[in-house]
Symmetry: C2
Subunit: 373 residues, 2 copies
C-alpha cells in the first residue's frame, strides 16, 4: 500500500497543487534538513515547539537543518492546551515577523497537536500564508492532527473555533520520537488509530488486535499502523477537504467523548482526549446495538480490544463523579446543536462499518445514557 524506501514509508496526499508527502519512519528527524531542503531549497526556517519536546528533540532537528545548510530561528512555547490561545498565537506571529522571513520561508511545527494546530495557523496568516512543515511528535499528532490542514486555536466560546485551513508542504513523522512520550499519551493517541479501523477498515482493526503490542513497543508495526491511519484520514479529507460531509465519520466516538471531556472540565488528570474517544467509541458501538444496527458481538470485541491496551471504555472508568445522564445530554446538545430534538451521531453497523446518522432522537440518547450511568 505504501511505497517504502528502506524503513521509511511515503504517503502522497493528493490535493492538486497543494499535494504533499507524509514521510513515516524511524529516526526521520535526523533527515529533516535534507527532506525539507529537497522540497524547499534554501528556505529559512522558523521553528515553533514546546518545552517538553524542545528538551528531548529540538537539537536533533536543528543539527539536521544545519547539516542541510538551512538557517533557522526557534521559539519554545509552554506545553499544554492553554498554548492554543490568542495570546500565544500573537506572540508566535510576532516572533515569525521579527525574523523578517518571507512568504516562501517555512514555519516548522515540532511537537504534538497543540504545537501543530497553533503553528499551522501562524503559517496560514503571516504574510497571508507562509510555507508550513509538520514534525508531529505525539502519536495523536502523527495519526490525526498533522493530516487534513485544519489549524487553529481555542476561544472562550469553545475549542478550535478560530483558525484556517492551511496545508503543509511536508509531514515528517519520526516513529522513534514517540519513545519519549508518556505511556498514557501514547495510549490516548492509539485510540485514534483504532478509530480508523472502526470507521471503514475492518481488516486493519483485526491487524491491530494481533499487533498492538508491537505498535506500542516500537517495531516496524508502529510505522505500519501510523501509515494506515494517515492514509485513512487523508482519504476521508480528500473526499471532503473543507469538512461539509463525509469528514464527519472522523468524529466516531467524539460526540460522547467531547461530552465526557466537558463533564470532567477538561481536567487531564481525569481524562485526556484519546481516553474520552475510547469510551466514546465503546459507547457508540453499544448505542448502535441498542438501536439494532450493530451486533452485540462486535461491540464486545471493540471493548475487549480497548481494554486489552489499557484504555477506558466505561463512564465508571473515569476517576471522580460523573454528572447524571441529563447533564451529559446537555453537553452533547451543546456540541452538536439539536435540530428539532434530533442529533447527528456517528453510528455503526459493525466493526469497520460506521455511518452518519442525522436523526437520532435525543430521547434515545438519554435512555441509553441512563443505562450507562
Amino acid at each position: 500500500m505504501n511505497p517504502n524506501e528502506g524503513d521509511v514509508r511515503r504517503l502522497r496526499v493528493e490535493l492538486g497543487p497543494q499535494s504533499y508527502d507524509i514521510l513515516i519512519g524511524p529516526d526521520l528527524l535526523k533527515r529533516a534538513g535534507a527532506e525539507i531542503a529537497a522540497r524547499l531549497p534554501g528556505v529559512r526556517c522558523a521553528i515553533l515547539t514546546d518545552e517538553n519536546v524542545a528538551a528531548r528533540h529540538l537539537s536533533t532537528l536543528t543539527d539536521a537543518l544545519t547539516e542541510a545548510d538551512l538557517s533557522f530561528e526557534t521559539k519554545v512555547l509552554p506545553a499544554g492546551e492553554k498554548t492554543k490561545s490568542a495570546e500565544y498565537l500573537l506572540g508566535a506571529v510576532d516572533f515569525v515577523l521579527g525574523t523578517r522571513m518571507e512568504r516562501g520561508d517555512v514555519v516548522i511545527a515540532l511537537g504534538g497537536g497543540v504545537i501543530g494546530d497553533l503553528s499551522g495557523f501562524v503559517a496560514g496568516i503571516v504574510r497571508r500564508g507562509m510555507k508550513f512543515v509538520q514534525v508531529p511528535t505525539s502519536l495523536l499528532a502523527q495519526v490525526d492532527s498533522s493530516v487534513g490542514g485544519k489549524t487553529g486555536i481555542n476561544s472562550t466560546h469553545g475549542k478550535n473555533l478560530i483558525g484556517v485551513f492551511h496545508q503543509p508542504s511536508l509531514v515528517l513523522s519520526d516513529t522513534n520520537v514517540l519513545n519519549t512520550l508518556s505511556e498514557r499519551e501514547f495510549r490516548a493517541g492509539y485510540a485514534e488509530v483504532v478509530k480508523y479501523g472502526l470507521i471503514d477498515r475492518p481488516d486493519f482493526f483485526e491487524w491491530l488486535e494481533e499487533n498492538w503490542q508491537a505498535v506500542f513497543a516500537g517495531g516496524p508495526e508502529r510505522g505500519e499502523a501510523i501509515a494506515v491511519s494517515c492514509q485513512c484520514k487523508a482519504d476521508v479529507v480528500a473526499r471532503d477537504e473543507h469538512e461539509d460531509g463525509d469528514r464527519a465519520l472522523l468524529n466516531l466516538g467524539h460526540t460522547f467523548g467531547h461530552a465526557l471531556e466537558g463533564a470532567t472540565g477538561y481536567d487531564s488528570r481525569r481524562l485526556v482526549h484519546g481516553e474520552g474517544v475510547a469510551i466514546g467509541m465503546a459507547l457508540a458501538h453499544r448505542f448502535s446495538v441498542r438501536l439494532n444496527r450493530c451486533s452485540a458481538d462486535d461491540a464486545e470485541r471493540v471493548e475487549a480490544h480497548l481494554v486489552a491496551t489499557g484504555l477506558p471504555t466505561r463512564l465508571s472508568d473515569v476517576p471522580g463523579d460523573m454528572p447524571p445522564a441529563e447533564a451529559l445530554l446537555d453537553y452533547i446538545a451543546q456540541d452538536k446543536k439539536v435540530h428539532r430534538g434530533a442529533l447527528t451521531f456517528i453510528l455503526t453497523e459493525g466493526i469497520g462499518r460506521s455511518f452518519i446518522a442525522r436523526d437520532v432522537p435525543s430521547s434515545e440518547v438519554l435512555a441509553f445514557l441512563r443505562e450507562c450511568t
Copy 2:
C-alpha cells in the same frame, strides 16, 4: 462590457467555485437584504462597521435586511487605520463567536478599506471560514480593497502583514453612499481609479480626462468608472490570485507612494494613501522618462490630469518638510527589499503601458529623487 439591470452593473469575478458578483449602482444599500437573501437564503448576518459609516448608513442596511427577513447583529468599531490591529480583530472575532453564528452565516463589512480588511480576516478565521459580504462605502474600497480577496491587519512590523486570502460571496457597491464621503477621501480614492487607466487601459484614462467631473458629481459616470476599475483589478487578480506575478502591476505609484507615507509618519493630516499614490504615479512616469522608457508628453499628461482633479503630484505638494533623497531611498529599500543594489519598480512605456522592472539600480532612483527634492 458590463451587463446592466436598470442602473445596476453586475460584474462576475470568475474564481471557479469561489466566483462571485460585484454589483455597482445607486441606492443598492436599500436592496442589500434582497441581494444577500437571493444568494445566501436565511443566513444570519454579523455586521461590522465603523462609527462614521454607522451614523450615516447603518440603518439603511439593517432596514433592508429586516425587509428580507434576515436577522443580524452589529458591532460598531472606531474609524481609522488603528482599527486594523490584533486588538480589534480579536474583539470582532469574539463578537461574531458570541452571536453563535455558524460557518454558513455571513460577516458583512459595511465601511471603507479598514473595515473591509478587518472583517474579511474575521470571516476567514471564525470557524475556519464563514461567508463574507462586502459593502464598501469609500471610493477606495469600492475600486480596490473590496476586490481580490486580500484581508488582514497591521503589525508593529509593518502594514497588512497578518491576514488571509478570503473571497467574498458578494460585493455591493452603492455609488450614492459615496456622497457622504469627504471630498478629500473621494479624491484620494480617485487616484486608484486613474491607476487602472495607467496600468493597461489608455482608453479609460482618456475617458477619465473627459468625464472625471461627472464621476466626482455622482452621475452614471461614477458607476461606470467604478465598474471599469473593478474589472481591471479582477482581471489582474484572476491571472494571479495569490500574488506572485502580474498582480505587482497594481503597485503602480505605490513604491514611491509608500515611501512618502513612511516619510510623513502616516500622518493623514499631511498625506493620505491615495495622495501618496497620485504623487507616486506622477513620479513613476517622470522616472520612466528619465530612463528613456516613456515620452515626456505622456508624463505631463498624467500630471495634468491629476492636478486638474486637485490631487498632489510633487513632493513639494506635501505640507511640511520632506526628508532628503537618501532617506526616501531608505524607505523604498525597506518596502521592497533590495536585491544586490537593484529594486523592483513598476515603470511605464507611456499611458496604459506599465510594466514590471525587476532590476532598477538604486543609484538611478537616488539620482532621480535628488532632482525631485
